[in-house]
């Protein structure tokens, strides 16, 4: 009803403007808090959440206590909350809004839902109105009608919704966050604040997690520790690894390094009452082959070093080189994060024996423009000026013509003629002229791309 009518009915009505973004943020916070009940949380905007509690309720002594605890905590926090449990998401939603606190027995959704009014189906307003005008006031009455009639009058979407509400068929819901492969958690009767205790807890959780993973022959590639504060805020810390890990001490050490290096330190507030360690992504453990394989222990140590450095400084800062199949110099060797590098691809071509180095040891990512004096059309430079210093060229070798990838239509870059030059002091540079004289440009430009040792 419009606001004027409401004001007319109730004098002195308190009116607050709806703040939809704030509502959504709050809903997300509540969804984070609900993570402690089940990792499978889905948003049901604008004001609802759907949790999949398959296989979880036994941790809370049953569905009834779990429902009570969830509702109770939310109501105690000041929200007006209603909740219900059923076999399908649609049925649970309907029950929550119209029969608060019901738990539908498995397979019994049809009977539990039947007495609810048709508004519980969450159809469009005109459809609900039409049903009511047709004399169908409850869902049970609608269910008695044949599917053909309902489809003819209301369309098949409505019939699908009815089916889901009655427990036949389900539309899958997707969780907000990736479901972890393995998880171990510990609840505290008294909230925990001290760092040492948290570190010990992580070690204990890592031990139980590794025990479970080892049974299945898997190791963790990505671990996430979630810290649930008593006031509902959840903080998550993630750690990546280069090799599948299954050693608790290593995991604990990596988390300690990560926690130490956090720019925004872990603030316990009034304390954490739940700490959970998940292996978000797990991989099969490769059995170590002993023998011709060179030093498996060394590989493990290097992997641990990479993990440590990545935990402390960020996984995008620890890199290895990977060769690429291109002749463009700046793209021929690329640095990729070491933890995500594909170990099978890292093979480089050996150098040609007897030849001096043809590629510089240092390469500018963006070639620096220089002023060069050279013979046209394609002679080597005689002298050039770089960073305000004049260099006189005593030896030059080239040109090595590298054409840019002409099959990329969007960006036709000019051809480069590379020269290896040495100046009077013995410093060696890698210069190129960009653009073939006359054929591509009338004013070819010179750049300095790299420095030789």
């Amino acid at each position: 009803m419009p606001l004027a009518s409401a004001r007319a009915i109730v004098g002195g009505l308190a009116v607050v403007e709806a703040d939809l973004p704030a509502d959504r943020r709050k809903l997300i916070e509540i969804a984070d808090w609900c993570d402690r009940f089940s990792p499978f949380v889905s948003l049901d905007p604008p004001h609802g959440l759907v949790l999949d509690i398959t296989g979880v309720s036994h941790l809370f002594d049953g569905e009834e206590p779990m429902l009570r605890s969830l509702r109770g905590t939310l109501i105690a926090a000041g929200f007006t909350a209603c909740a219900a449990i059923a076999g399908t998401a649609v049925a649970a939603r309907a029950l929550a809004r119209f029969a608060d606190g019901t738990i539908a027995a498995p397979g019994d959704e049809a009977a539990t839902i039947a007495p609810l009014p048709v508004a519980a189906l969450d159809l469009e307003h005109k459809d609900t109105h039409a049903l009511q005008r047709a004399g169908l006031k409850t869902i049970g009455q609608v269910a008695e009608r044949t599917r053909a009639e309902l489809t003819a009058r209301f369309g098949k979407e409505m019939v699908f919704k009815l089916d889901r509400a009655l427990g036949r068929g389900e539309k899958p819901i997707s969780p907000r966050r990736i479901l972890p492969a393995f998880a171990a958690e510990r609840r505290f009767a008294e909230p925990v604040v001290s760092e040492d205790f948290i570190a010990e807890t992580i070690l204990g959780l890592a031990a139980s997690l590794c025990a479970v993973m080892e049974e299945r022959g898997q190791g963790a590639r990505r671990l996430e520790a979630s810290f649930f504060r008593t006031d509902g805020i959840v903080r998550r810390i993630a750690v990546d690894t280069a090799q599948p890990l299954h050693d608790p001490a290593t995991i604990a050490r990596l988390f300690r390094t990560r926690l130490d290096a956090l720019s925004d330190p872990l603030d316990p507030g009034f304390g954490f009452d739940l700490v959970r360690l998940c292996a978000v992504h797990a991989e099969r453990l490769v059995p170590q082959s002993v023998g011709l394989e060179a030093h498996p222990d060394e590989e493990k140590e290097i992997a641990f070093l990479i993990d440590r450095l990545a935990a402390r400084f960020g996984s995008h800062r620890v890199m290895v080189f990977q060769p690429q199949d291109t002749h463009i110099p700046e793209a021929a060797g690329v640095a990729v994060p070491a933890q995500h590098a594909d170990a099978t691809k890292l093979a480089w071509e050996p150098r040609e024996t007897g030849e001096p180095p043809r590629r510089p040891i240092r390469l500018f990512e963006r070639p620096e423009p220089i002023d060069a004096i050279a013979q046209v059309p394609d002679g080597p430079p005689v002298s050039f000026r770089w960073r305000r210093v004049r260099h006189r060229v005593t030896r030059a070798e080239g040109p090595e013509r590298i054409a840019m990838e002409w099959w990329q239509h969007e960006d036709h870059k000019p051809t480069r003629d590379y020269f290896r030059v040495e100046d009077e002091n013995g410093r060696r540079f890698w210069l190129f002229r960009e653009g073939l004289f006359v054929r591509e440009t009338m004013e070819p430009r010179w750049f300095l791309h790299g420095l030789f040792a």
């Binding site: 180095p357 040891i361 040792a453």
Partner: protein
Amino acid sequence: MGDLAHRLAGTRQLLDPILGEERNLVRCALGHAAADMVLRGGLLRGTLHEIFAGDPGASAAGFAFGLAQRVRREKRLLWIRQDFSALEHAELCPTGLAELGIDPSSVLLLRAAHAEDALRAGADALSCAALGAVIVEIPGNPKVLDLVASRRLVLGAQTKGVTVFLLRLSAQAEPSAAETRWRIRSLPSTEGDDWAPSAEADNWGSPRFAAELTRNRHGETGHWAMEWCCDERAFKPAANSGVVAAAPADRPAEAPHIRLLAG
């Protein structure tokens, strides 16, 4: 008597670093006879070495990799550099490394945000015995790199035997606990400038250095013209270098003994 002998051995071990007698310490030959002689067999492994670069610093990087290659013995190499270096001194090019004879797949790269992170990463990496060498590139003279920091690096290197090289670009020499200190400048290919485009003339370009050992804890200093042989991965005396010029007068006065050795 047995107890006395035991205590004497312990005292001798304590005095060894001070007296300059190195037993049980491994030295890796560089391949350059004169330099190896001054270094008493080669470069000492499991300690800190400093390399100072002239401008623009690519020669020193090549020299550092050459030393690291001699020292690391098939193990992997960690190169640490700061974000700022990429703009000023250019990125490391893996194909260039392959051309120098160093396998790029054995090199790990760490990009540190600033000097303090770089030094901390270096110290952390020294506890990994599977590494052969760590090269930390530090431009300028940051405050965090003082005598205490360098001593910490030395101690870290000694625990697991990982050699660490500090590559100082555009820096002034400072007191440090390094075992050896080098100053590297580039060396022209041959004296004079011949411009004849013949077949042999195109074969120039092997890395050549005017390498000056300005400080050596357990030996004398020296000055040599060295060339890195990319195929054999060793240093050798530079051919056709003539007499190497003395260091320019505007260098900071801190190397007392400079002996000119013709290459």
